[in-house]
């Protein structure tokens, strides 16, 4: 494992996450370019069989411990640090998901090495690893080098297609033991997502609103547009946090991942946390007053305009078109 590229295999509720396969796909590319091994480290409790799904890696190290049943950041980082102590990789990739958030930061501290957050890609320049990072809400791209190795890289979801990180190969699986102290943080229970009045994942058309909608009073504009298109209204994080829409309407990291035929993003800046949940939509149209809003990097069509002015005009145009079609 020393000198390898290493990926944290994130398991949650009995499955390996999509973000893990994405990380394996990137890790495989980097490991092959460097001519080194790709290793995955899986932590869990009675979860050894999940190692078989990590065939993109040459070697899977499985760590079994009751405290690792859930990915609690501190016990998980401690376990990883113990595994890596004598077998230091060149890079350790941790998916930036709600399951693993904090693990990378803690692991870097524990190893006394550099952590780099917000990565979307890894390059090799003159034999050195460079992380390409998306920061400032998606507006800025930074190329970052660590002073030393191993470097712990937090990887945004979507870096590579997950399919590229799946393999039917059987990896070599080794078990490692760790010694952990009791955790002062314990999971009591999971609370399932509340079923809303509308299941966003089953809609062909979603009209999603962000901060640019400005107030709850303006939601009616988005509802009218959604109605004209035969779809439903969704929201980005700030809209949900303001209480303007229920949790069941949230798209993004902590909400739902959707793939409608049409996704209309109104006044949504396009932070990576939101894009993660809608980037696979078949057709994406974005309206935003900021010409540099990162949502235009993922949209197929973009309109730079005041959303509050644009929505009613667009709704009227669609309704007119439909009326013509009905009478044709």
């Amino acid at each position: 494992m020393t000198g390898s590229i290493c990926v944290f295999a994130e398991q949650w509720r009995g499955s390996i996450s999509e973000a893990t396969y994405e990380a394996l796909a990137l890790g495989r590319e980097v490991a092959d370019a460097l001519g080194v091994q790709l290793t995955a480290i899986l932590t869990g409790s009675n979860a050894r069989e999940l190692a078989q799904t990590l065939g993109a890696a040459d070697l899977v190290v499985y760590v079994d411990h009751p405290l690792l049943a859930e990915t609690l950041p501190q016990p998980t980082a401690e376990a990883l640090a113990q595994v890596l102590q004598d077998r230091r990789p060149r890079a350790f990739i941790v998916p930036l998901t709600n399951v693993s958030l904090g693990v990378g930061t803690l692991l870097a501290l524990r190893l006394g090495t550099a952590g780099i957050n917000f990565c979307k890609d890894v390059r090799i320049a003159g034999g050195r690893l460079q992380a390409v990072c998306v920061m400032y809400g998606g507006k800025i791209e930074a190329t970052v080098e660590a002073a030393g190795e191993p470097v712990v890289l937090g990887l945004w979801p979507g870096a590579r297609p997950a399919e590229k990180g799946r393999s039917s190969r059987s990896p070599v699986v080794e078990e490692a033991t760790v010694s952990l102290r009791d955790s002062p943080v314990l999971l009591r229970r999971y609370v399932e997502a509340e079923a809303g009045d509308v299941d966003l994942t089953k809609q062909d058309v979603l009209v999603a609103v962000g901060r640019g909608i400005q107030s709850k009073d303006n939601l009616g504009l988005a509802e009218d547009l959604a109605k004209s298109l035969g779809g439903a209204v969704a929201g980005s994080r700030p809209v949900i946090d303001q209480g303007w829409l229920p949790l069941s309407r949230q798209v993004g990291k902590s909400g739902l991942s959707v793939k409608p035929k049409l996704y209309v993003a109104l006044g949504i800046s396009g932070a990576p946390e939101h894009v993660e949940g809608m980037k696979d939509s078949a057709l994406i149209v974005a309206v935003n007053s900021d010409p540099r809003a990162p949502i235009f990097n993922v949209a197929h069509y973009g309109i730079v305009a005041d959303v509050l002015e644009t929505i009613p005009v667009l709704t009227a145009a669609i309704e007119a078109k439909r009326a013509v079609a009905r009478h044709a």
Partner: protein, 261 residues
């Protein structure tokens, strides 16, 4: 119950961001600094706990442009004390911010022992890691992030924290106090405070200042930015230009072409 809220200023990304000459950092002359959004939620959650359980709330921030406004706003909203850590270079990385905060918590009179340390789950410029786990590591305290709901048991020794998982699933955690929690969102939107009340706080209350004390070597391995630029990938949207009517017509044509109308 003593609650500390760790606050950091971050660039307002609604404004245009300029890259500094040299091409490895933002040009701070053109940046408007605002309180990091999730830190605002951390402050709100602390104030809600104060109202529910009785507590003193101290807002601790690193010196940066506009930080006095953020700290006086915290006082006007109901924080009991505001402390500013001075002496860090502009554009300091998150790891340095976390070390300066951890040192201040240990050294500034009245800050420790704290029962609960709240901060935002993540800031948009946390390039080398997150504040909450860094401070938890430095102070050897429990950590949990992405918290959206928080209550305390009667003894004040345990918190019940709700953490967000993917797909709208939530996890309920028992956390032994003292602990450091990264707040994603408070139970209610951050409260509004009129400017007049902030001005009144400026006249009647004060911000305590403490010097940053950092190890000479910076204390940990560094991540170095070798290039910074605007995020403009090749796959940019095709832009539709014109007045609202003509743009709407163009879009209707596109939607019809895709069989959506």
């Amino acid at each position: 119950m003593r609650i500390l809220v760790l606050m950091k200023m971050a660039p307002d990304v609604v404004e245009e961001l300029e890259i500094a000459p040299g091409g490895t950092a933002l040009d701070l002359d053109y940046v408007r600094m605002i309180l990091s959004e999730s830190d605002d939620h951390a402050l709100e959650q602390a104030l809600l706990l104060k109202e529910r359980h009785g507590a003193t709330v101290t807002a601790l921030a690193l010196d940066a442009p506009e930080v006095d406004d953020a700290l006086f706003t915290a006082l006007a909203k109901g924080a009991d004390r505001a402390v500013k850590i001075a002496g860090l270079d502009a554009g300091f990385p998150t790891s340095q911010a976390a070390r300066a905060m951890s040192q201040a918590i240990a050294q500034v009179p009245g800050l420790s022992p704290a029962d609960l340390i709240l901060t935002g789950v993540q800031a948009i410029d946390d390039l080398d890691g997150l504040i909450a786990p860094m401070v938890a590591h430095a102070l050897d305290l429990p950590y949990l992030g992405i918290v959206t709901r928080l209550s305390l048991d009667a003894s004040g020794r345990t918190a019940l924290a709700t953490k967000e998982y993917p797909g709208g699933v939530r996890g309920e955690f028992e956390v032994k106090l003292p602990a450091v929690l990264g707040i994603q969102a408070a139970e209610k939107p951050p409260r509004y405070v009129p400017v007049a009340k902030v001005r009144a706080a400026m006249k009647t209350q004060k911000i305590d200042s403490a010097p940053a004390s950092l190890p000479a070597d910076g204390g940990c391995a560094a991540a170095q930015v070798v290039e910074m630029k605007r995020n403009e990938p090749a796959g940019h949207a095709e832009m539709l230009d014109g007045d609202p009517e003509s743009v709407s017509d163009k879009l209707c044509g596109i939607l019809t072409g895709h069989g959506l109308l």
